[in-house]
């Protein structure tokens, strides 16, 4: 009932600023409640969200979670096994590597790199992709043709190969990794938004806005954008997982953030030499990647079911 009242209030033009804020707030709260009601039905999605949240919190509060330092070698504790194996202890719950660095510590510090790159790259890519997708779908014609040909071209390059070549050319470092991934990443939100816009611009509400004299920019960003936001959020969430996998692969190939800064991919690569004896050095960071990406994918599928029923298979 509240929902309908809120809707009706929109048509009352005479309202104070305070009333307006209150109305918007009330609607947001009810939207979030509605979303949560749908989302929590999917138990796997809730678990996925919890995993992601846990990694984010661990990454932020890393110095408070572990007493060890992620980069300083400790030659008194070299190659200690995890706690559940013979010779393991709670001092190093997941064991140590060949330099005596605590694996658990390096994993949670490594989460900083992976999550940062995942969210930053997808964030920028979404802004670029959504804008270009809106323009491409709304105007059509020549602009659309050019953008689509660029996308076709970028699609032809295997993501990892292109990213590797670009990092190789631009040089290593956090900024260049972000740039190299952005080079292709924007096409995913762009394609989704474009196809949604093609449908949306034929709808009545767009026609109505045009009739009352709304300009192109108003229609694109105020009328169409809110309606394509749901599918953008879903796609972007799922892309974070892919980008994290890409970053891990780059750093596995030795093109990630520079050592000794811990990153999951390079930890696996370093531990490879000891796979015959100290398997945990390379296996456990890999497991962290798997868990994070799985969590994000479960979350993405949950979001899809809750936000955008028509995207369901």
């Amino acid at each position: 009932m509240d929902k309908y009242l809120a809707r009706a209030e929109e048509f009352v033009i005479t309202e104070t600023l305070q009333q307006k804020l209150l109305r918007v707030l009330r609607r947001t709260v009810s939207n979030i409640q509605e979303f949560w009601r749908l989302y929590r039905k999917n138990h796997l999605a809730v678990i996925g969200g919890a995993i992601v949240l846990a990694f984010i919190l661990l990454a932020i509060f890393a110095p408070w979670v572990t007493p060890h330092d992620p980069v300083t070698p400790n030659f008194r504790a070299i190659r200690k096994p995890p706690v559940w194996m013979k010779g393991g202890s709670w001092t190093h719950p997941l064991g140590t590597d060949h330099l005596g660095r605590d694996i658990w510590t390096r994993i949670i510090y490594g989460a900083r790199v992976s999550l940062f790159i995942g969210f930053v790259v997808v964030g920028f890519a979404t802004v670029i992709g959504v804008t270009l997708g809106l323009i491409s779908g709304y105007y059509g014609g020549k602009i659309d043709a050019v953008i689509q040909r660029v996308i076709d071209t970028l699609l032809a390059f295997p993501y990892l190969i292109l990213a590797t070549a670009l990092v190789g050319v631009l040089g290593p470092g956090l900024r260049n990794i972000v740039l190299a991934l952005l080079y292709k990443e924007w096409i995913y939100p762009c394609r989704v938004v474009r196809s949604e816009v093609l449908v949306a611009k034929e709808q009545e509400y767009v026609e109505a806005a045009r009739t009352v004299g709304a300009g192109n920019r108003h229609i694109m960003f105020r009328e169409i954008l809110p309606n394509v936001l749901a599918s953008t959020v879903v796609v972007s969430t799922l892309r974070v997982g892919s980008v994290i996998l890409m970053e891990a692969s780059l750093s596995f190939l030795g093109l990630g953030v520079e050592p000794p800064t811990p990153a999951w991919g390079s930890m696996v690569a370093e531990g490879r030499r000891f796979i015959n004896t100290e398997w945990w050095v390379s296996t456990l960071p890999g497991l962290a990647i798997l868990l994070t990406v799985l969590g994000i994918n479960l979350m993405g599928e949950g979001l899809r079911d809750a936000l955008d029923p028509k995207l369901r298979e």
Binding site: A156, F157, L160, I161, T164, A248, G286
Partner: protein
Amino acid sequence: MDKILQRLLHTIPVLIGISLIVFSLMHLTPGDPVEIMLGEVGYVSQEDIELMRAELGLDRPLIEQYFSFVAGILRGDWGTSLRARVPVKALILERLPATIELTIAAIVVSLIIGIPAGVLSAVRRYSWLDKLGTLVALVGISMPQFWLGLTLILVFSVGLHLLPGGVRLAFDIPAPPTVTGLLLVDSILAGNWTAFWGTMRHLALPALTLGAPMSALTMRVTRSSMLEVIRQDYVTFARAKGVKEMAVVIKHALRNALIPIVTVVALNMGSLLGGNMIVERIFSWPGLGQLVVDSIRTYDYPVVQVSVMIYALTYVAMNLIADLLYMRLNPRVRI
């Protein structure tokens, strides 16, 4: 016919785009590419720098450089490797067969795993089997390939001593004479079954690793495509006619569900090809992927450019074939 021509014309802007991106790779370096390349070698004089700049044509205007680059590619003159001092073409042709063999094996593996699993999931929809399959597929997509490869080596090579964890053929088995470069084909041609079996064993783990994400994807597509088809009237009709369930599923449903599967497999060739680099590195596979990584590390730009281009062209070719196949399989598109 018109449709086919249209599709062919459609690739032209993409090919131009590819050449532009590949060409620009060398020019994206912050600073002078020649100095970076020669900096790897050690001390160099200004004269050497000028000499190399002339050799690479970097002293000419950009437009001219681009056209001579494209002309060279078209003529089959792909430049010289800065590191190995041999033609890039020879270097690449030497590596290509290993990658082709591995890639084909990976596609076969992913179809063998993905299609039956997807069919089973669709037929037993909402059963625990379906739920398990869906979860396993999701794990397969979320898994870093290098980690899967290492885990497989850890279990099957280090732990169980069942399968070899690297290279194409054991050193104590003499390789068959090179005809195609594909060891499986060559050993059949030579009638060398020891080498054939050896190659198969060596292919197993890398192909499984490279094909894993694709298997997961194939399974998901097969499942949803089957679910769509199974509701169709002709399937119900076949059942009503008294056709055995197995035959209904395979002959009537799966056959029609195959079209989207072909499309999705072709569209995701990119990720399969990209995985090459990782898998070849883990399994010491002497293919193109390793060559790319090594050349990037040593700033061997001519090799990087051509190999990256070959990956892109392979993708374009695969998609073209898939589209043409699609037109043949689906009469509605053909008209």
